[in-house]
Chain length 211, copies 2
């Protein structure tokens, strides 16, 4: 049985959606960042980085979204969530997910988590100001150079799709108008209507309201 | 024939080393960041992100270090650079490389490339000040929680090793004493002595001197 540790409003949603798409047998454990559950000793034993997501498997714990997504795809091959038999296409998937992880998510993080990289309050404020530009430039590049359509990688839905959807959710709060990237806006809308996405989002929202 | 686009002193070295370790048939193309080769129209056609590394293959271009490393390992299975037949262990490799890419490299980048995330000169200076702490904490975490020894993943040398080595190279300039993480310091020393590492480093240094 897989167990996904997540916090609402985080990139863990991408793995949550992928587990649903894969038809995986899994359960979830909700952490609250408000009460800093991710820094509590019992969670640090699971993930010493104090981050989400973490995925508890029969073999041990995994972390980092691109790794979880690849693992879910590889262990549920019938769901065809990645081009597992084509090293070049699989590397393209990993390239997209690496970019989302190391450039796009990082650009976004400068709005809420600038304290990671400076102790100066004025610097943190100045970082926030640039987020609409940096995140907007990332999405413009994805729209122009990476997004194949109708899915990120082209005709086939892959593990890139829930990850892009998860970051697209944050665009409004990041000060970026999703309509400026019409292909991604359309992708976001189509993703929102998928049963797996609705199920994962509803689970996270419901638990959040109940907390 | 593979073609690796790199710039000296960048994370492209990790892929360069991996190509050597794999015994790959490849050539390299050196870019100079000083003359901003990465922003020139001919390179933007190869990599519109204006970053290195890029790997030109018979199927097209790949970017992002974790993707290149996985591709090199998958297409050169005899070199055994990753646990390709074990989804859990392969995901662990990807988790390490994702962390190096999205947290460690990003922490480091705030020393030289703070302009990516703010337009304010004072904020850029304040970011530089925190780099010894943030990069130091990343390496302390790797030493304590991730590094299995003698190689990153344990008994087998993998694509995590050239990537960690590449980031370890920057510790001095980042204001971090590598000796505070003795396992990583020992890894760095052993890596430096490997023929593949010496070859890749010499190639990049030689070309740099000649430029």
């Amino acid at each position: 049985m897989l167990k996904l540790y997540y916090a609402p409003g985080t990139c863990a949603l991408a793995s949550h959606i992928a587990l649903e798409e894969a038809g995986a047998h899994y359960e979830t454990v909700r952490l609250s960042f408000k009460t800093e559950d991710q820094k509590k000793p019992e969670y640090l034993k699971i993930n010493p980085k104090a981050r989400v997501p973490s995925l508890l498997t029969d073999h041990g714990v995994l972390s980092e979204t691109p790794a979880l997504l690849l693992y879910i795809a590889q262990t549920h091959p019938a769901a065809k969530l990645a081009p597992l038999d084509d090293p070049f296409e699989l590397a393209r998937v990993q390239a997209i997910n690496s970019y989302l992880c190391s450039t796009v998510h990082v650009a976004h993080a400068h709005r809420m988590r600038g304290y990671r990289w400076t102790d100066d309050a004025a610097a943190i404020e100045s970082m926030k100001k640039k987020v609409p530009q940096t995140v907007g430039e990332c999405f413009a590049l994805i729209e122009r150079e990476m997004f194949e359509g109708p899915w990120v990688m082209g005709a086939s839905y892959t593990i890139c799709d829930p990850y892009l959807f998860t970051l697209s959710q944050w665009l409004g709060a990041d000060g970026v108008d999703i309509e400026k990237t019409p292909k991604i806006a359309d992708h976001f809308k189509r993703m929102s209507e998928r049963p797996a996405v609705r199920k994962a989002v509803a689970d996270e929202t419901q638990l959040q309201s109940a907390a």
